[in-house]
Symmetry: D2
C-alpha cells in the first residue's frame, strides 16, 4: 500500500556509537548493507527505499540503547540533547517524510520531562518519545533503573508525557553484563533480538501497566514494537494469573485487565516481526485499533517488511490501511499538524483494492502476474 | 455485552399472514415458543428477553416476504403502507428500544420511493428500509422482479434511498413455485434457511453490486444478513471470475472489485449464523467496519445469539463493541437522532472487559465460574 | 512445495467439444493462453509447468460438463467410454505424473456403475470418478437428473463406487437454459464460475449428503472443489437449520450433522479459490484432514495456484504437506499403488521448511530476497 | 469431549514441600479449593472431577520444582527416587486413568539417566519424564544448571531419554533469588505464572533446541506447556534472528529452523492458557500435530479447562479429538501399552459432533439450551 507510516525506525549520530558499539549487532554482511552507514543516512538510500516501497513517513529515533546505555547522568543527558537537536535539524529538511521521537536520559525523571518539553515546545518535528527499556546506571553497568517502581518516582516524567500528549515508545535493549552471564551466556544467540529483547522490554512494559501508571495518567499512551513483545499471545494467561488476592500490592486498577488498555492507552507495532499468524492473533486479542505498521529499519529491510505487509497480509482493505497508516495518525497526533500535516487516507488513496489487471492481463487475484511462467523476484 | 443493537428482527401484523403462511416455516415446537405470537409481540416477551440479554435496541421489520410476496401491485402497496403505519405506532411507544425498517412494494420503483419518503418524512421511527429479495409478480407467482436489471428501472428507487440516507436491508425469501420444483423439490429441507435463502438473496445482492447500482449511487448503503449470504468466504473467487473481458456488459466500475464496497457501501450482519470461524473469516475478508450484530428473532433465540456473541466470540473488546453496537449507529445514522438518540459506547460502558471476579471468587478467565464443579446452564 | 498433487485438472478430447463449446467459457485472452490447446495437451506445456511449480501429479478429468452435458443416453455413454479409453492411453505414458478420474454417463445408474467398474478393472490409471453435477436430459436440455432422489435410484451407482473404493469428485457445471433465464440472465457474469457453479453443485452435494447416501454407503467418499462450494463457511447455519422436526423426510442419519462427514467421507479441494481467509476458515470448520490442494487447470494458472500455496499460505509445514500432498494419497488410495506408486512425504522431502539462506544471503524470513531493492516478479 | 488426556498435572508428596513451600504459590482461597490437599489427592476429588469432565487419563508429575529445587545432589536424587516409587505405587492402583512422568535430579546427567531407566524398566506406569527448568545448585540457590551447555554435558541424559523413547516435559519454575531481585522484585506479580515462568523455561527450551540437542538425538521428543511458552507466536522472529553468520557457535543444524522441529520432536500443550486466539495462532504456526490438551491441575480448574476445550474451541471435530487425545498417544507411546492400554478414538467415540438435540428440543447449534431464557451456569 501507498502511504504507509513506519514508527520504529532507527537513526544514529556518530556520538551514539560511543555508548554502544552498534557494529557488534551486525558484522558487515550479517544484516544487509552497511548497518552503520544506513543508521547515519536519512535523506539518501533510506528515502529512496521509502519511495520505492510506499512508505510516506518514517518516524526516526536514535538507535538503541541511546541515553539508556550511558551510565553517567550528565553524559546521558548530553547525548539526548545532542541527538534531539540533530534530529530536529534533519526532520525540518523534509517534514512531510520524516518526524522524530525524542531521546531522553532517564536517570532523573524531572530532567527527562524537561528535555521532552524542550523537544515539544522549542524544537520542531517531534511527535513522541522513545525510551530504550531500563536506564543503565552504576559503574559496572549492572544497575537497571526501571520506571514502574513502587515509589512512583517516574510519575514526574509520565505526567509531562501525558500533558504534552506525547506517546511513549518503549523499545528493547540488551541485558546487563550480570544478567547476560546468568541467563544468556550459554545461548548468546537468544540474548538479543531473537528472544532476550522481548523478554526484558515486555516485562518492563507489563510492569508499567500493572503498577498503575496508565491509571494514574489516563491520557498517556504507551507503544511497544515487535508485535507486542509476546504479550498479545499471552494475554489470557497474564490476566488470568495477575491474582489480586495473591498480590495485593499490584497498583493497577482493581477492576481492570491488562487487555482493557489496548487500543486506548497501549499499542503495538509490527516492527521486525512479519508473521501473518502472529498478526492475526494480535488482531483477535488486542484489536485492529491497537496495531500499527513499523519496520525497524535498518535492522530490517524496508522492501522485506513492505512486501509482507502489502502483498501477504490477508486482511481487509480498511483494516490494512488503518494498521498501515491511519492508526498512527490517531496515536501520534502531531503527525497531522505542524510541518508534517499528514491526513488519514482511504484504501483507494493508498492504492489498496481495486482491479489492477490491465487490458492485456487477465483476471484479479493473481499471485503470479503471468499465466504460464512462475515468476521469480528479480 | 450490554448495549447491543440488533438489525434483522422480524415482527408481523395479522394482515401479513395472508400473503404468506408463516406457520409453514415452523410448525409449533420446531422453533422455540409460538412463532406467530412472538412475531406479533413487541413490548412483552420480546422486550423482556432484550432486557435479559443486553439488547438495547431492536430494529424491527415486517416478516418476510411482506409486500414482496404479494403479486398484486395495489395489494402489495396497501400492505406496505399498513405495516409502516402500524410499525410507526409501535415504535413511538418505546423509541429508545425499538426502531423500524420501512416496508415497500417493489412493483413500481417510483411508488416504492414515494412510500419510503413518506416513512422518512411523515412517520417517526424509521431508520432504513427492508426488501425481501425479488418482488413476486404474475398470476402464478413465478415472475420475479429483480432490482438490478440492465434497463436500470429501479434507479428511481435507489435514488430516493440514497437521497434519504436510508440503508437498504436486502433480506431473503422463498423460491418461486417453478424454481422450487426445478431445483429444490428433491431436497426441500435445503430450500429455505439452510441454503436456498442465501443462494437467491446472495445472487441478487451481488447482482445489484455488479450491475453498478452502488457506483451510480455512491452514498447508498446495502446491508445483507446471515454473515453475508456466503459472499465473504467466496470473495476471492467472485472477484477473480468477474472477468471484464468475458462480460463486457457488467455495469460495475471497471476499476473496482466487489471487495472494495465492503465497509463503505456494503455491510453484513450476523443474523442467524452464529459461527465463530465464519465471523473470523468475514472479519478478515470484509473487515471490522462491515460487520454488525443481529439475531433474526423470532426465527432465532435471543439468548442463544447473545450467549454466542457475549461469551464465545474471541475478538478484542473494541472490535466486539463496534460489531455489537457502534457500527450500527454509523450505518443506520437515524438511530442517533430523533426519538431514538442512541450514542456510541465504549467497551466499559457495555460491560465488556474488566475484572469481574468478586472478592470471594478466584481469577479472571473463567469459562466455568466454579472451581471444582462443572456447571450446567440452568 | 515440491511433490504437490492436484486433483481437479481438466483435459479434453475434441469429441467433448461437441457437447459443449468450451471456447464460450473463455474467449481467447480472457483466460491465459489458448484454453482449447491447453485442454488438449497433457505431456507438453502442462508437464513443463508442473515441473516448474512442484506439481508431482495431476489427476486428469474430462472437462465439464462431459457426458453430463449430453442429453442422449447412448451418446453420453459413448462419450464417457471414448474419453476413458483415451485417458487411460495417455496416463500410461507417464503414470508417475498423471492419473485419471473416470467419466460416466449418469442417465442410467447401472450403466454408470458398469463403466466405472470397467475403468477400475480393465483399464489402467484411474483413481476416482468425476461427475459434473446433474445429468442433462430431455430434448430441450432442461431436465436435470439428480443423484439424491428420494427413490434412491442412484444407489446402484453409489454401491459400485463404494465397492471399488472409488472417490467421487462432484464437479460444477452450467445451468439449464430454463434456470439460466429465470435466475441468471440479468447478471450472466454471475452465472458461471463466479457464483452459479457453486450454487448448483453445492446444493447437489448437500442433497446427496442429507438424503443419506453417505450413511447407506459408509465407505463412500465424496470430494468437492472450490474450497467446498460455500459449504464450510455456512456449516453452522446448514446444520442449525436442517430441522428434523420440520423435515421428517430428510434421509440423513438422525443423530448426525453434515459437519460430521468431513474428513471421513466428505472432502474439499482448493481448486480455483486461492483465498487465505477461506482456507483458514475451512481448516477451522472441516479440519486439516478434509482439505486437499488442487488447481483447476487450465481454467486457472498453475503458477498462480502454486505461488499462492507455496509462498502465501500461513500454515505449518506439516499441515501444508498434508494438504498439498499426503491427504490426496489417503483419499485417492490408488495413487499409492499400481503404475503410480506415490508415497507420502515429509516436509523436508517436499522442500518445506528449512533455512534456505545461502552463505552470502542474510536471514530466514525473507519475503523479498534482496535487502534493499524491492524485487518484482519477472 | 470424552476421552481427553491431560499431560501436565501436578501431584505431590509431603516430602516435596520441604524443597518448596507450595502454599506460597497460593494462599488459601487464591486458587480454588485447598491447593495442598488437591496436590496430595489422586483417587478422590481429582478422579471425580475427571469423571465429570470427560478426562480419561491424567499423566501425573511431582509438583514443581521437585528435585530441581533441591541444591544438594544427594537429597535431590533421594527426592526423585522417593517420588517415583510413590507415584508408581499410586498409578498401578488405576492405570487406566493415571500414568506418571518420572522425576529426576539433574545435578548429574548420568545419575539422572540411571533413575529414568529405573523408572522405565523396574517400575510400572511411567510414560515420560518431567524436568522443572534449571537445576538449582550452590549454597545460596543462585546457581542454575542448564541442560544446553556448550560442553554437551547433558548428552548423557538425553541419550537415555532417546533410547527409552521417553518424551521430556520441560516445566517452568521460579527464578533464583538473584534473578528475582534483579528483574522481578519491583513487580513480583509478574515473576511467576503470569510471565516469569514462561520467560525462563521458554529460553531454556529454545536453548536446548538451538544448541543442537534435538539434532544429536533425532528421536528425542521435547514437550512444553502453556501453549508453548510464547514460542509459537514469536517463531518467525526467532528463526529470523538466529543469524548463523552472527552466531557461528550455535549448535543447531545449519539447514534447519526452530519451526521445523514442531510436530516431529517438539510439542506444546494447552496447560494453563485457555486462550482461543492463542490456540488458533499455535495451530497455524506449529500445526495440529504439535498441540496437545493439558490442564495444569490443581493450579488450574479441571472444569474450567474442560468447558473451554469442550465448548468454546472453534476447530473441527477431528482436530479437536487429535489435540484432546490422539496426539498424546502418538507422543507418549507408552500410554498405548502396558497397564494403560489406551487407544486412539474417533470423534464419535469421544462424543464430539453429532446432533444432540432430543425430540423435545429444537435445533443444532445452541449455545444456550433454552429458547427463551438465558441460562446461567449453576
Amino acid at each position: 500500500m501507498l502511504g504507509k507510516i513506519a514508527l520504529e525506525e532507527a537513526w544514529a549520530i556518530p556520538e551514539n556509537f560511543k555508548a554502544y558499539d552498534v557494529s557488534s549487532l551486525a558484522p558487515k554482511g550479517v544484516i544487509g548493507g552497511d548497518l552503520i552507514a544506513n543508521l547515519l543516512d536519512i535523506h539518501g538510500t533510506r528515502l529512496t527505499q521509502m519511495d520505492q516501497n510506499g512508505v510516506d513517513m518514517m518516524v526516526l529515533s536514535l538507535s538503541s540503547p541511546g541515553p539508556q546505555g550511558v551510565t553517567d547522568p550528565g553524559e546521558a543527558e548530553q547525548l539526548a540533547r545532542l541527538a534531539n537537536d540533530r534530529l530536529a535539524g534533519e526532520v525540518v529538511k523534509n517534514p512531510a517524510r520524516f518526524a522524530g521521537l525524542a531521546s531522553v536520559s532517564m536517570h532523573d525523571p524531572v530532567q527527562a520531562g524537561a528535555e521532552l518539553r524542550r523537544c515539544f515546545t522549542e524544537l520542531a518535528g517531534f511527535v513522541g518519545v522513545i525510551i530504550n527499556d531500563y536506564q543503565s546506571a552504576g559503574t559496572d553497568k549492572n544497575t537497571m533503573l526501571f520506571y514502574d517502581t513502587a515509589d512512583r518516582r517516574y510519575d514526574a516524567f509520565w505526567a509531562v508525557a501525558e500533558e504534552l500528549e506525547c506517546p511513549v515508545y518503549l523499545h528493547p535493549r540488551e541485558a546487563t553484563p550480570l544478567i547476560f552471564d546468568e541467563m544468556w551466556k550459554e545461548r548468546p544467540w537468544l540474548a538479543f533480538s531473537a528472544l532476550g529483547y522481548a523478554h526484558r522490554v515486555g516485562m518492563h512494559a507489563l510492569g508499567i501497566v500493572t503498577s498503575g501508571v496508565l491509571d494514574r495518567f489516563p491520557r498517556l499512551k504507551l507503544v511497544i514494537g515487535h508485535m507486542g513483545e509476546h504479550i498479545p499471545y499471552d494475554l489470557y494467561r497474564i490476566d488470568h494469573k495477575l491474582n489480586r488476592a495473591r498480590f495485593p500490592g499490584m497498583g493497577m486498577a482493581r477492576d481492570k485487565l491488562v487487555r482493557d488498555y489496548f487500543g486506548e492507552q497501549l499499542f503495538i507495532t509490527t516492527s521486525g516481526h512479519f508473521s501473518t499468524p502472529a498478526l492475526l492473533c494480535a488482531m483477535q486479542e488486542v484489536g485492529r485499533d491497537a496495531v500499527m505498521f513499523s519496520i525497524d529499519y535498518p535492522f530490517e529491510s524496508i522492501p522485506n517488511a513492505s512486501v509482507w505487509f502489502d502483498e501477504h497480509v490477508p486482511i481487509s482493505n480498511r483494516d490494512l490501511v488503518d494498521i498501515g497508516r491511519n492508526n498512527a495518525l490517531r496515536v501520534f497526533k502531531r503527525l497531522t499538524t505542524g510541518p508534517h500535516g499528514l491526513a488519514e487516507k482511504s484504501p483507494r488513496e493508498c492504492g489498496v483494492g481495486g482491479l489492477k489487471a490491465a487490458a492485456g492481463e487477465v483476471e484479479y487475484g493473481l499471485y503470479n502476474k503471468n499465466w504460464d511462467t512462475r515468476l521469480e523476484r528479480q
